[in-house]
């Protein structure tokens, strides 16, 4: 039964939830992003200590050395909550699907010279394992991090990494006629090839890191900030310049994704650094430590990809990251620009 509401007599009692209003400072209309994120995680009166970590509460701010007065100071500039996130990605995957189909139909990767096919497999397909590691690392942050503002974004980011791992696998399948040979070969490279071992060791080291913010910084800021541009801004354009845009089409998702998610990674680091000099110092320490480790680990890999141009390619991505860090207030000079 439809009811005629005497709308004039209706008085709206409040604009949003109290837990949202507390964050906004007063009861005022809130966005879907805000109602989906703010103060959504339990914070008090936990019943049992975890069997897997009896010295901590279920959710516990002490799982990182970063300290925040308000863990909801972190904001995702993309304003992603589940609905907005999946809607954006569903559009992007449509475009990617078309590219995959296009390249497949015309055999654009299959028909590349053997040598180039091998080079692409070497550079990109073992990276699926690295992306799987990135997935698990973001899953760790989602599981043990503090506050929905950051943990929901790492949930999305982690699933993105699974998506990337699978798109990289699809590139392998386009190259091997869906036989899976390239994937098996890539696994061997990942497990055994000398140029991949430093990266695998680095990833395994990260996978035992127990400070979730440290892991966030090392994975999402430093490693990604160096490796992704190296592969998708340096290596891929070299291939495409000589052999046509097939690979560009297939990595468009990755480059768009990297720019988009970097905005969120940067906002997160900036907020943590701006909170206190102690945080900024801590972040700088982690960045410095992983920066040199990662540059070292990338050496042999870059040499395989770029030959004698390796040093130049590495210098470029290093400079890009340094500029980014300076902007965020965690550069090696210690000053925000």
């Amino acid at each position: 039964m439809q009811v005629d509401i005497k709308t004039t007599s209706v008085v709206q009692l409040r604009e949003t939830f109290s837990h949202v209003a507390r964050h906004l400072g007063s009861d005022k209309p809130a966005s879907r992003y805000q109602e989906a994120s703010l103060n959504l995680q339990s914070t008090a009166n936990f019943h049992y200590r975890p069997l897997w970590e009896p010295e901590r509460e279920l959710y516990d701010v002490r799982r990182t050395q970063i300290e925040m007065k308000d863990w909801y100071a972190f904001k995702d500039p993309r304003q992603y909550y589940y609905g907005s996130y999946t809607i954006v990605r569903s559009r992007q995957q449509e475009t990617m699907e078309k590219s995959l189909e296009f390249v497949d139909k015309r055999g654009l990767l299959r028909d590349l010279p053997q040598e180039i096919r091998n080079a692409v497999i070497f550079a990109l397909v073992p990276m699926r394992h690295l992306e799987w590691g990135a997935n698990l690392n973001n899953c760790f942050v989602t599981a043990y991090g503090y506050g929905t503002a950051i943990t929901q974004a790492t949930m999305f980011h982690g699933m993105d990494r699974l998506g990337l791992a699978q798109y990289l696998s699809r590139i392998g399948l386009l190259l091997d006629g869906n036989s899976g040979e390239s994937l098996a070969h890539a696994k061997t490279l990942w497990m055994e090839h000398a140029a991949w071992q430093p990266l695998r060791r680095l990833m395994e080291r990260m996978m035992i890191c127990r400070d979730w913010f440290e892991l966030f910084v090392k994975q999402n800021l430093v490693l990604d900030g160096l490796l992704h541009p190296l592969v998708f801004r340096q290596f891929e354009p070299r291939i495409s310049a000589q052999h046509g845009p097939a690979l560009s089409l297939l990595t468009e998702f990755m480059t768009t994704w990297f720019d988009e998610s970097s905005r969120w990674v940067d906002a997160t680091i900036k907020t943590a650094a701006a909170e206190s000099p102690a945080n900024a110092e801590r972040l700088r320490g982690w960045i410095a430590e992983s920066h040199s480790e990662i540059m070292e680990a990338l050496g042999a890999y870059a040499a395989e990809l770029f030959g004698e141009d390796a040093a130049g390619a590495l210098a470029k991505v290093e400079a890009t990251l340094e500029a980014r860090l300076t902007k965020l207030g965690v550069g090696s000079t210690g000053k925000a620009s």
Binding site: L13, R14, S42, Y48, P50, W52, Q166, G177
Partner: protein, 520 residues
């Protein structure tokens, strides 16, 4: 890097092959760091897994397909939610009493969705097999979806009705919400295998119909199209989760015979834990829905005794038997909802939703559905309360009840074989006496006393002075402890709880919709 990969024309992949290629081989056996360090929680529960590749992927969803399907579902869902809000759909429900089920849902269930989101992220990070990890992670993100779509949908109701303005704050503090909170935290603080057995199997697979059917069909019967929409949209995720639940248990049992006794104990524990939690749903079905769907007793008969019975028959080949105390649940099914509603009628002034004495027509329905118990044990009590209320002496219980140490429900349930006698059980542990509502709850405590002595029991906490806002001075003149506790809960005192007939919700409903309200 010279292995020749032939550029042969592509063969067509089935969905299953495609999924396997894109997913199965992603993980690897770590060697620079030991697998035990990388996956430190995989062993401590005693579950033995020999071959993670035996995991049958129940979803077979790649990420691109996930984005595609879920993005499509969200587009549709939010279009309907937008339309609902524009059309003031909240005033089309059967009666404002119905809104109280949404208060219970948003404060008692939505936070569990959030807990499931985090708990499955934990499980996803801890499983060594990529297939199992991905299944858990997909559920983790789905559960975030449920928490968020529920907040977005019910947000609109919150603008016009009381009792649901601060759900997470209340979840962390309010006495009866410690029932769902402790249930879920119990699972999350256990290991990854117990967590998935508890939530994926015992809850999602065995008991979920008893949660979702009542709320979603209840919404449909009572004209709440917003809740129906998010409910059905979530249902398609739910069917994936149920498949996962069954796969989890079969996989663990097939891996090693030594896993059986551990799993059976978890099935016993989580059956009873889940069943006690559902007491809140039982009262909601029989008392809070102005238009009823079916009785708790009927639902239990259909969804647990029949469907659950068939399921456990199927699992018998693994050596699994029916959960312990399922016979007690059967004995209680004609009493559970009445006893629980009685408790809330007593303490509604300290609750975030309203209670009431059923109308005469509703009592008739209850008599029909519960011929053996209602008229004999419960109707006289409601009639007495109704008479008191007519005299202006609505009964509120001003003392605080004793709580069960395990399920944390006030000790108001009766002996399995005597509906007139309250059931008390106790255990001694480290010079203290602990109280339980049932043998089921006592067993759970006795097996892991170190865990359950930690229970944050709301009544104990009130008496210990831990449930006041910071800066409250209990020695100040005129100090009103109950009022101070309600402020600690952030209740709008007198609006969020109490008798429905005296409520602002009722007054607004009549003013705004012109519909007649209920009376006694």
């Amino acid at each position: 890097m010279n292995m020749p990969i032939s550029g042969k024309p592509p063969k067509k992949l089935s969905l299953k092959e495609n999924y396997a290629l894109l997913t199965r081989g992603l993980g690897w056996e770590t060697s620079y760091e030991s697998m035990d360090k990388v996956f430190p929680q995989c062993d401590f529960e005693g579950i033995k897994i020999h071959d993670w590749d035996k995991w049958e992927d129940p979803f077979r969803l790649t990420m691109d397909a996930y984005w595609k399907y879920q993005g499509e579902k969200e587009r549709k869902l939010y279009a309907i939610v937008d339309a609902f809000q524009q059309n003031n759909g909240q005033f089309n429900v059967s009666d404002a009493r119905y809104i109280n089920t949404l208060k219970l849902f948003l404060t008692g269930v939505s936070p569990l969705e959030y807990g499931a989101h985090r708990g499955f992220a934990m499980a996803g990070r801890n499983f060594k097999g990529a297939g199992a990890s991905i299944a858990a992670q997909m559920q983790a993100i789905d559960e975030l979806r449920h928490a968020q779509t529920q907040a977005h949908t019910i947000s609109h109701y919150n603008k016009f009705f009381h009792g649901m303005h601060d759900p997470i704050h209340m979840f962390d503090r309010v006495w009866y919400l410690s029932v769902p909170k402790s249930y879920f935290e119990d699972a999350m603080t256990a290991g990854p295998f117990e967590f998935v057995t508890a939530i994926s199997f015992s809850f999602e697979y065995v008991l979920t119909n008893l949660l979702f059917m009542p709320f979603m069909s209840g919404a449909a019967f009572n004209g709440d199209m917003a809740t129906v929409t998010f409910g059905f949209s979530a249902q398609s995720d739910e069917s994936r989760h149920m498949t996962l639940g069954l796969e989890v248990v079969k996989f663990i049992l097939e891996q090693d015979p030594a896993n059986l006794p551990i799993v059976q104990r978890w099935l016993d524990k989580w059956f009873w834990r889940g069943y006690r939690l559902l007491a809140l749903v039982a009262m909601m079905m029989d008392y809070m829905l102005p238009k009823r769907v079916m009785s708790w007793s009927e639902a239990w008969g259909m969804y647990f005794e029949q469907n659950g019975g068939a399921l456990f028959n199927d699992l018998a080949r693994y050596g699994v038997r029916m959960p312990k105390y399922h016979d007690v649940a059967a004995k209680e099914k004609d009493r559970l909802s009445h006893e629980t509603w009685g408790i809330f009628y007593n303490y509604t002034h300290a609750a975030g939703f309203h209670t009431w004495v059923p109308e005469e027509g509703e009592m008739k329905w209850l008599s029909e559905k519960y011929p053996a118990t209602f008229d004999k044990h419960y109707r006289p009590r409601f009639e007495y309360w109704r008479d008191q209320q007519k005299k202006g002496e609505r009964f509120y219980n001003k003392t605080l009840p004793m709580l069960c140490q395990t399920c944390q429900i006030p000790m108001g349930f009766t002996e399995p074989d005597d509906p007139t006698k309250i059931c008390y059980r106790e255990s001694h542990y480290r010079d203290n006496k602990f109280h339980f509502c049932s043998d089921g709850c006592k067993d759970i405590f006795d097996f892991e006393p170190e865990k359950y002595v930690q229970s944050w029991l709301p009544v104990h906490q009130v008496y210990q002075g831990n449930c006041f806002r910071p800066g409250t001075d209990p020695t100040a003149p005129g100090f009103d402890p109950l009022l101070e506790v309600l402020k600690y809960y952030n209740f709008n005192v007198g609006k969020d709880g109490g008798e429905y007939l005296d409520s602002e919700d009722k007054k607004h409903w009549e003013q705004w919709t012109g519909k007649p309200g209920v009376s006694i």
